[in-house]
Symmetry: C2
Subunit: 299 residues, 2 copies
């Protein structure tokens, strides 16, 4: 029976989208991946198209029961350099997905981010915490999320938003802090920490995030945003030190990057209680797995 | 000297944009109005163009010292019916204005709205109150505001956002509650209040709003959102009753409109202290003025 449920994964050629598409495939869903970039993934039908083109989005959404809407300008630095592009893809593109979902009665699970909260007013941050993002990436992701949840209330679109922790795992993009550190250390080049490295991150593994999408896609709940964030906090300095343990090299410190998000402790208690989600991947294991995958790719 | 300061008013063919353009003209600025609709206003140069076209926006912003960015899908019901359009104009269009302002060092004064706050958590609402809008109009207006204030912090754009009260005055659009009531009553048709009419609004006159734009355009302040809201609260029922006093007709009650914003008391204390703004137009006078202007237009 499960095999008859059809899911569209937008952004399926990207890091997270690919993990999510694979998870649905591996648990018996019929999966189509939609991306502006072509891609090849066994057992996943590939459809090339642009989120900002309403007609092609509508056409794709019409043929599916659920949309995992992951496609976005997800590269924070690109969104910062090109806010207009981020606004087009992350807001207008999401509005296109929503309008299609309204027309076709399609469930939407949206990849939001813990960065929507901005400066913490209290911690740990639950889903009732004010959302006051201050970077084009998180601002445009929040606008997409808000449009989706509003359409759930006003126009009965079944919808869940997942506010994801900082994601990592095999296939991570090359300008992520993981890749920056690991790639340099493997080449015996010094690693530079921007700022003092004391900012903590609840790195959340792509496998665990993909499971949250599966739970949300199957859930009867709607109109809710859930934090999907692993509980363990690791500082950037600790991350660098673990990489240096594996590939000994020099550790230096540089200027903080403007727009870097301040640390905050985020609670995923509600996702545990209402979606039954909890993360399984301990950070040390996830990091080993990532390093192994990078070693394999480089051979 | 003042006459050499050049201001671009986007949305100058619209209700608020036109009042704002006139105010700048009348106080000695060199004013260009930019709008997708052509318009004719003595002493205001007219430029026809689309906010979603980055090149024409850039071209216009380059030739001015300040932008009063009023252009938007400002019709709440249109934004609700066409969220994709609201996202394009209100978010991508604003991103285009911001990118041009970054390139040319232009000051931006942005027309935001008190509706960005959503459900009140405390009252009166000051600018520190969480922003949790739940309608495509207010969601997209907030995204534009957030992008602007972020660019002020990250990229040194001199920028102020004005969170405007529900605006009224001569030239109001035909689907506003004022026009709906007045137009029907003048034709001896019954007035229908959606809901019980107990929801209060701090109706803020376009003349007072235009003065706030002038103050913000001349201010050295940057990176701040100000509430620009008149202190007097008038319920929808009171508004209807005042109209019925003038044009006797039947008053009936209907279903509340979905997405109508709950009432909230908003404080403009900060705008008074830091911009020197306070509203001069008492509501009864503003309403009389509006009715007189509609009478004149209909003759």
């Amino acid at each position: 029976m499960v095999s008859t449920v059809r899911i569209l994964v937008t952004g399926a050629a990207g890091f997270l989208g690919r993990h999510i598409a694979r998870r649905f495939r591996d648990t018996g869903w019929r999966v189509t991946g939609f991306d502006v970039t072509g891609f090849d993934e066994p057992g996943v039908e590939s459809s090339q198209g642009d989120l900002t083109e309403a007609n092609s989005v509508d056409h794709m959404v019409a043929a599916h029961d659920v949309v995992a809407h992951v496609g976005a300008i997800g590269d924070v630095y690109l969104a910062g350099a090109e806010p207009t592009l981020a606004a087009s893809v992350n807001v207008v593109g999401t509005a296109n997905v929503i309008e299609a979902a309204v027309r076709h009665g399609t469930r939407v699970v949206y990849a939001s981010t813990w960065e929507v909260y901005g400066e913490p007013r209290y911690q740990p941050i639950d889903e009732q915490h004010p959302t006051m993002p201050d970077h084009p990436y998180s601002i445009t992701k929040l606008a997409g999320e808000s449009l989706l949840l509003a359409s759930s209330r006003l126009r009965q679109v079944p919808a869940i938003a997942l506010r994801l922790g900082t994601a990592y795992g095999p296939g991570l993009r090359a300008n992520s802090v993981f890749r920056l550190f690991i790639d340099r250390a493997r080449n015996h080049e010094p690693i530079t920490i921007q700022g003092d490295g004391s900012q903590g991150r609840q790195f959340t593994h792509a496998y665990d995030i993909a499971r949250a999408f599966e739970l949300a896609a199957s859930s009867p709940l709607s109109g809710i945003a859930f934090n999907v964030v692993a509980p363990e906090t690791v500082t950037i300095k600790e991350l660098a030190e673990r990489v240096v343990e594996r590939y000994p090299t020099e550790l230096t410190f540089g200027e903080p990057r403007p727009g870097d998000v301040p640390p905050a402790l985020v609670s995923a208690e509600r996702a545990k209680e209402e979606l039954g989600w909890q993360p399984y991947m301990p950070f040390s294991e996830g990091l080993d797995d990532l390093i192994t995958s990078l070693d394999r790719d480089s051979r």
